[in-house]
Symmetry: C2
Subunit: 249 residues, 2 copies
């Protein structure tokens, strides 16, 4: 409890340097075991899952605030991070902190700015602080299994829709997949983002025609009878393809 | 000047009901004479062009605030309106109102939420108020010709990039074009949004294959030797095509 008190005192000092009514929530996407996942924190005080979030200092650009929040809360830095939407319904947060120790600051109305990040799953190892029970990765396809706080499920779904819209213009595959991946893994990632199954033959043909993949002289080791080939991205061609939009007009 | 004073008194009263540090700016797109344009206001006090903007009342959802701002400032309602980005650099607005009569409220730091709207050009007839010299439509392809205030040019360009990203998922053509249009007009709209020229044959073939157009038994009257055919959208098929993304995987 002493740790908690210290943290709360520290945060009350911090709040005085922040802009009121504005918060930031981050949706950190990772891809692992053929599933798209988002990073979340289970808070001790109400046992619900929260997105890593925070506030904007009075002298800080919002983009810088988002970088700092991810560094402090989730221990990740140097990652692809982009603002995607604002969540500003009256009443979205005000009643959710009634049982919370941490002063009145949390109970004001917050308009929250959503950022999404794309990380290589294995590079992230967040640590829980004294107020949070644990960090974990929630499967995007199974969000109903978790008690997610406030409108944070809606924030995740909106971030997923943003990936869908930006899939032709942003290096989404490049940032989410490990350096070496199989075509079934790439297809699974696209299917999760697009929210539907794709015809395998068409997908492979389209992807290969783009000239953004390099076939490696390696296979994925495992139990498969015919181990799938490994690929990596040709970064120069990938960036070039993004300029006009992959698979565009 | 009396009108101005009244307006300023009215707005000071209004500010007390608003959330500090948060503003809304709207990018209203219209398509006319083969050009994509945005609605802007020339302000008397500094002779610069502003996007129609405003603030969020303490009891108001941000989406509702955006609707109200467009109704009050630009006289438009019942239109396609969507949030697209946040502009939150420290210093983006604070120094721009030094010569402005209107109290200290305008000089605080504002994080501005951008909304874009798609309107049928002919349906809009905004009226200037006592603080603004006039309303006009600025050509998106010629923004350098205008003295645009603060980061409002950046806001317009980001809105255009958003159209580009959302062109496969949002009824952009449907909302921007008049009920009847020609294929060259549709192609020009796509070219402006995508920021590059498209091959005419490919574009016509793709658009026609989507089964979203209805060819009318009418031609565009004018001086052309061979008057171009008029088309309209088949709304049912258009909405269906958007569900999975027009021209998608």
């Amino acid at each position: 409890m002493n740790d908690q008190k210290q943290l709360i005192e520290k945060s009350e000092k911090f709040y005085r340097d922040c802009i009121p009514h504005i918060s930031i929530d981050t949706v950190v996407f990772g891809f692992n075991q053929n599933e798209l996942k988002v990073l979340a924190i289970k808070m001790k005080f109400n046992q619900q899952w929260f997105l890593p979030g925070g506030f904007v200092r009075k002298e800080e650009d919002i983009d810088v605030a988002a970088v700092n929040i991810l560094k402090e809360r989730a221990g990740v830095s140097n990652i692809f991070l982009e603002e995607f939407a604002v969540f500003g319904k009256k009443g979205r947060n005000e009643s959710h902190f009634d049982d919370y120790d941490d002063g009145l600051w949390q109970k004001q109305r917050f308009i929250s700015i959503g950022y999404y990040a794309l990380v290589d799953y294995v590079s992230v190892s967040p640590k829980a602080d004294a107020l949070s029970e644990k960090f974990d990765w929630l499967e995007v396809n199974s969000l109903d299994r978790y008690q997610i706080t406030m409108d944070h499920k809606e924030i995740i779904q909106k971030a997923l829709m943003t990936l869908r819209e930006r899939i032709t213009y942003k290096p989404i595959g490049y940032n989410l997949l490990p350096e070496k991946f199989t075509l079934p893994e790439l297809q699974r990632l696209y299917e999760t983002i697009l929210g539907r199954t794709l015809n395998r033959g068409n997908f492979y043909r389209k992807i290969k025609n783009m000239d953004i993949l390099v076939k490696l002289d390696e296979q994925r080791k495992g139990s498969a009878r015919k181990p799938p080939d490994l690929y990596s991205f040709n970064k120069v061609n990938y960036e070039k393809a993004l300029q006009n939009g992959i698979n565009s007009w």
